[in-house]
Symmetry: C2
């Protein structure tokens, strides 16, 4: 286990100064081509690889980017993780994954610890309030996913649009009274969906009953399902797939047939949506693309030659129809 070769070794081997060796390897055209070749040759022979640490100290940039997620075990984030990882790898960046444990304190702790370590961060579904988010965005470059922040680049997934589509799907199946089992009040996405549902309901001649807020976890599906049954509807749009899974569990437990007596629509199309029986009709979010786009935006901001300014990318969703939605029943169960 011998000490890895440094630029000094390469310079010595090729008979030039360290500075020349550095330039030969990183500044094309700056040194004579013959010298450069000699240096490159020596570097190759010695198996030289530049030290990221040395580089970082000198340049102030680490070529690392963090991805903060509230919960690594939530399948919602798998696609995002994969998308950012792929985009970062393409540019040779190191991908630091951080679990913020669904807590504001942990998230801020992580940001504080990461600030000197990474060049920027992708914040997926941040739990931070707008003020903190804005203040952090002055500290270092970041891009949010599904969380619009003024003057700040971000990627949004148009689940609201998908919700309208889902309601149309239910309307076409004859449903006239539909519940929305909503997510946290703090959720931007939830607010937008409620707004879309209001106007779409009017247009489609469907009555929408807003329920919740529910915590988007499977365990909380029971409460949601009970509220849904009490609302005397024939279909429910769940805030996300996890909540929908829980709703399906509870409906099965209470002997309510899906989709015979109740149709259920999820959101996101996470891993597992096609595992449940019946398969879950859901609003598919292009999460891998979202992660990819977020990393893309961040890398653009990190590129000093790039023009500044914040950009917002909105990605469309589409409805995936599986077995959990069907013709509206003639009689309402409760």
């Amino acid at each position: 286990m011998t000490r890895p070769p440094t630029l000094r070794d390469v310079a010595a081997a090729s008979g030039v100064a360290i500075s020349t060796a550095s330039r030969a390897l990183t500044k094309p055209g700056r040194v004579n081509e013959r010298t450069a070749t000699r240096v490159r040759e020596a570097a190759r022979e010695l198996g030289y690889a530049p030290s990221p640490t040395g580089r970082a100290l000198s340049s102030g940039r680490t070529r690392m980017v963090a991805l903060l997620v509230p919960d690594v075990t939530n399948p919602y984030f798998f696609g995002i993780v994969r998308g950012t990882a792929a985009r970062l790898r393409a540019d040779g960046y190191v991908h630091v994954l951080v679990d913020a444990e669904e807590s504001v304190e942990a998230e801020e702790r992580a940001l504080r610890a990461l600030r000197p370590t990474v060049d920027g961060a992708v914040l997926a579904a941040s739990r931070l309030d707008d003020d903190r988010l804005t203040s952090w965005s002055h500290e270092f470059p970041m891009v949010t996913v599904n969380r619009p922040v003024p003057d700040q680049s971000g990627v949004l997934v148009d689940t609201a649009g998908g919700t309208g589509q889902a309601l149309a799907h239910l309307a076409s199946l004859g449903h006239r009274r539909v519940a929305y089992a909503g997510g946290p009040r703090a959720s931007w996405s939830d607010r937008r969906r409620r707004a879309v549902l209001r106007t779409a309901a009017k247009r489609l001649g469907v009555e929408v009953v807003g329920l919740g807020p529910f915590v988007p976890r499977r365990e909380d599906g029971a409460a949601a399902a009970d509220a849904v049954l009490h609302a005397e509807v024939t279909a429910v749009l769940a805030f996300d797939d996890l909540l929908a899974f829980g709703i399906l569990d509870r409906l099965a437990e209470r002997g309510v047939d899906v989709p015979g007596a109740m149709s259920v629509v999820g959101c996101d199309d996470v891993f597992g949506a096609d595992l449940v029986r019946p398969g879950l009709t859901t609003i598919a979010a292009p999460l891998e693309r979202a992660g990819h786009a977020a990393a893309d935006l961040l890398l653009a901001r990190l590129d000093p030659t790039h023009p500044g300014g914040s950009v917002t990318v909105e990605l469309p969703t589409h409805l995936v129809v599986r077995g959990s939605t069907g013709q509206a029943p003639l009689r309402v169960v409760r």
Copy 2:
């Protein structure tokens, strides 16, 4: 966005030399308590935080650890990710997650890129052969999960033991002929399970038919299911849950009742095992604990005061019985 304070600033503010400031903050007892207090006070006021890069360059250690997984979207690894992340965070290490894309080349590329960046690595289900693995283990500290390497610390999950337990469970339900839908030949775990099944079968008076290898993906469950049906058995032990999901899909497609006509047992108890209908009986692997233990082993190795030597931790599994296993049918379907 002002330059963050450095040790130099702290030293100036408290009227001591940089070296003294450094020692006051990191070497308890080395400087006079009064001076130390003064320095700490100044550091606090300035909001000083040591630069990881500076530290790394000087000490040669980055306080970062990588976790390499073949595929971040495979739910098998979620628990491991969570476990290592938790353990590393407890010691203030940064967690670098790398997706090796199921490929030997990508895995080696990642290791090469990471070697100068991280202090060590946890390799989960490495695709590298023994030779490469051994040679890499000379390059930097690493710990494997579910992959024994001579003279190298690792964590093993005793799925083989769980397989014995599962076979006993099936035997007690009256199954007399059981298939094992095996995983990749290269898998150490697969080999061990086949061995355990041989002896357990003898002991339990059950006939075990070894099938495969199958790629442990849901898509490959169809082929596995067909092979199982052809083998005229009443139950099947799948290499992992993903394969089991695929088997369930195919059996449903072919109209085979589970567990009425065929019992199915998975392995790992990943996210989704309790989502399928019927719920999947499976061998639960303590993956979060495995990740935790692996990180623990690695951190111990990184601690210079710690005695060397390789340690292997073996974690027990347990059988989770859900709806996919039941009484053996009187007649065999095929």
